[in-house]
């Protein structure tokens, strides 16, 4: 007999709110369904009422982990609309912060993967080392999370000689530690046994379901926006696109650890070849009426912004597609025919960065398997029915 289990929006196994409903047959998941919207903030609508400069700070707050991804994607689109070119040194610093962000995001993910696999000492080791890269980001920008380094036409903060030396020193520590993690993550027998074969996604499915980032590359598809559609200075920096062909959580781990080393190489190249000159140019207040598609390889995959201007100080339309949304369809596929105990691991393996989930309460009758979805307003009704005569201090009114 099939049972339906609601997981989330609030659930101890999930780090952020998302509504999952899985149908299980014994221990095996037969069907999985996703409900977004729990955390929906209406940023696209809000962006239409803010100026081009204000929107940089709004984009920064889409995500706490890849905050630089969204601002870079946005400002490089707006720079094209305004027909200005950021100076070389500005682009180098922008790319440098982007790669540091990738390192901190991948280390964070690696720790979470260790935690979900029940390897908590690995989690603590990795997160200790993540502090090194957070410190570097703080040296550069003054902030650990929202770097606020991008502006239209370049970046806001310059680097000096001492900072460059500090970053290179810290990086050599990180590189040594990452070698240890690569060794551990791919050879430690119980860790590998926990990850191998879990959440399998074939190459055909990954392509059909439009997966992005490490999830796609772990299924053997070498797609990386940095290589395919070079932005900033990626056309002059040497690096490789990392792939794996196993298509499971182990493959996604290996891809991310390999990408760490690529990022270390990129950062070393950037710091050693840092050009001199200004870091930003002056931008006009309003662009001409035009449109642009801006793409960026965030730590989680392809991030795309579609920006349309109408000649005023505010955008006509700003469409944001964060990488996690692109991976949801593939996650549903991965969950099917897996075990319940693998749900957090598979879900963590796409590195979800959730801005959206569920707002409904599901009540499942365990005996019949019948399910009823109750909306918040009918829950309120239910509450009133329970104690109809009690006086209430005030009524909660739905805003619309």
């Amino acid at each position: 007999m099939n049972f339906q289990i609601p997981i989330g929006p609030q659930h101890p196994a999930l780090k952020e709110p998302i509504g999952l409903r899985i149908t299980v047959d014994g221990e095996i998941i037969r069907e999985a369904d996703l409900r977004l919207g729990y955390n929906h903030r209406g940023i696209e609508k809000l962006a239409e009422s803010k100026t081009w400069i204000q929107n940089i700070y709004l984009m920064e707050r889409i995500c706490g982990i890849c905050s630089h991804s969204h601002t870079t994607c946005y400002v490089q689109g707006v720079e094209k609309l305004m027909e200005i070119q950021a100076p070389k040194r500005g682009l180098y610093i922008r790319t440098l912060v982007a790669e540091l962000e990738r390192i901190h995001s991948h280390l964070l993910w690696l720790g979470v993967a260790g935690h979900e696999a029940g390897f908590d000492s690995f989690f603590m080791y990795v997160w200790r080392d993540r502090e090194i890269v957070m410190d570097i980001l703080e040296i550069i920008s003054g902030n650990r999370v929202h770097y606020a380094i991008n502006t239209i036409g370049g970046v806001r903060r310059d680097l000096d000689e001492l900072q460059v030396k500090n970053i290179l020193d810290s990086l050599s520590v990180l590189r040594k530690r990452s070698e240890y993690y690569l060794n551990l993550g791919t050879t430690e027998p119980s860790f590998v046994a926990r990850l191998a074969g879990v959440g399998y996604l074939s190459k055909e499915d990954a392509l059909a379901l439009c997966a992005v980032g490490p999830t796609l590359r772990a299924s053997g598809v070498p797609m990386d926006v940095r290589k395919d559609d070079p932005y900033a200075v990626y056309d002059e920096v040497p690096f490789e696109v990392c792939t794996a062909d196993t298509g499971d959580v182990l493959g996604r781990t290996v891809v991310r650890i390999k990408e760490l080393f690529q990022s270390y190489n990129i950062i070393e190249y950037l710091l050693k070849n840092l050009p001199t000159g200004p870091i930003a140019v002056r931008a006009p207040r309003r662009p001409k009426s035009n449109e642009v598609v801006s793409r960026y390889e965030a730590p989680r995959g392809e991030n795309i912004h579609y920006i349309k201007s109408n000649g005023t100080e505010k955008p006509e339309r700003l469409k944001v597609r964060a990488p996690t949304l692109g991976n949801y369809a593939a996650t549903i596929k991965m969950l099917k025919n897996g075990f319940i105990a693998d749900v957090p691991l598979i879900f963590a393996a796409i590195d979800p960065c959730i801005c959206c989930a569920e707002r409904a309460v599901a009540i499942v009758d365990a005996r019949t398997g019948q399910e009823k979805i109750v909306s918040t307003s009918s829950l309120k009704q239910l509450k009133q029915n329970v104690s109809p005569n009690k006086e209430r201090k005030r009524e909660v009114v739905w805003p619309l």
């Binding site: 409900r35 977004l36 919207g37 929906h40 209406g42 696209e44 609508k45 094209k80 392509l207 059909a208 379901l209 439009c210 997966a211 070498p222 797609m223 290589k227 395919d228 559609d229 035009n290 642009v292 598609v293 793409r295 392809e302 795309i304 579609y306 349309k308 006509e316 339309r317 469409k319 597609r321 949304l325 692109g326 949801y328 369809a329 593939a330 959206c356 707002r359 409904a360 979805i373 909306s375 918040t376 307003s377 009918s378 201090k393 005030r394 009114v397 739905w398 805003p399 619309l400």
Partner: protein, 157 residues
């Protein structure tokens, strides 16, 4: 370089279906087709040109009509197919049969712009809450959010 070859191929393969084709920047192609030719164009792009990755679908409220943009990408180029549908009959076909990964983006279009996606495999709302009032589509330009006046308990009436 590559863009020009692709544009030539599009002109050859689609002929009079092309309403407009533009190449405003390197690796960016915008192709406009009528909504009736949308599925044929996408199947041409996918099967003959190998564009399997749909980045996202953007919907824009232009006032008298809606513009829908399908952003495709491969290893060389970002290819956008655009189409326009009238505001009084906002319906367009689902592309999920060709691109199964489009489902979430199409559900988002239905929620946020109130478009009617025909033959969509899963028409349930995705982002908005279940008790969202019908006929309210937040991304339409005429939809305005008014914050309700704050009521302080025990305050002045």
């Amino acid at each position: 370089m590559n863009d020009q070859i692709l544009i030539e191929k599009a002109k050859e393969g689609l002929k009079e279906k092309i309403l407009n084709i533009a190449n405003p920047a390197p690796r960016r192609i915008f192709l406009k087709v009528a909504v009736d030719n949308l599925l044929e164009t996408i199947s041409w792009l996918k099967n003959e040109q190998g564009f399997t990755h749909l980045s996202t679908i953007s919907g824009v409220d232009l006032g008298p009509s809606f513009e829908i943009l399908y952003h495709f990408a491969n290893n060389f180029c970002s290819f956008t197919i655009r189409t326009e549908i009238p505001r009084d009959n906002p319906s367009l076909p689902s592309i999920c049969q060709l691109i199964p990964g489009a489902i979430l983006y199409e559900r988002e279009l239905q929620d946020m712009l109130g478009l009617n996606v025909q033959n969509i495999p899963d028409p349930r709302p995705l982002l908005l809450p279940d008790d969202w009032p019908a006929g309210n589509y937040p991304l339409r330009k005429d939809w305005k959010f008014e914050r309700p006046a704050e009521v302080i308990p025990g305050g002045k009436k």
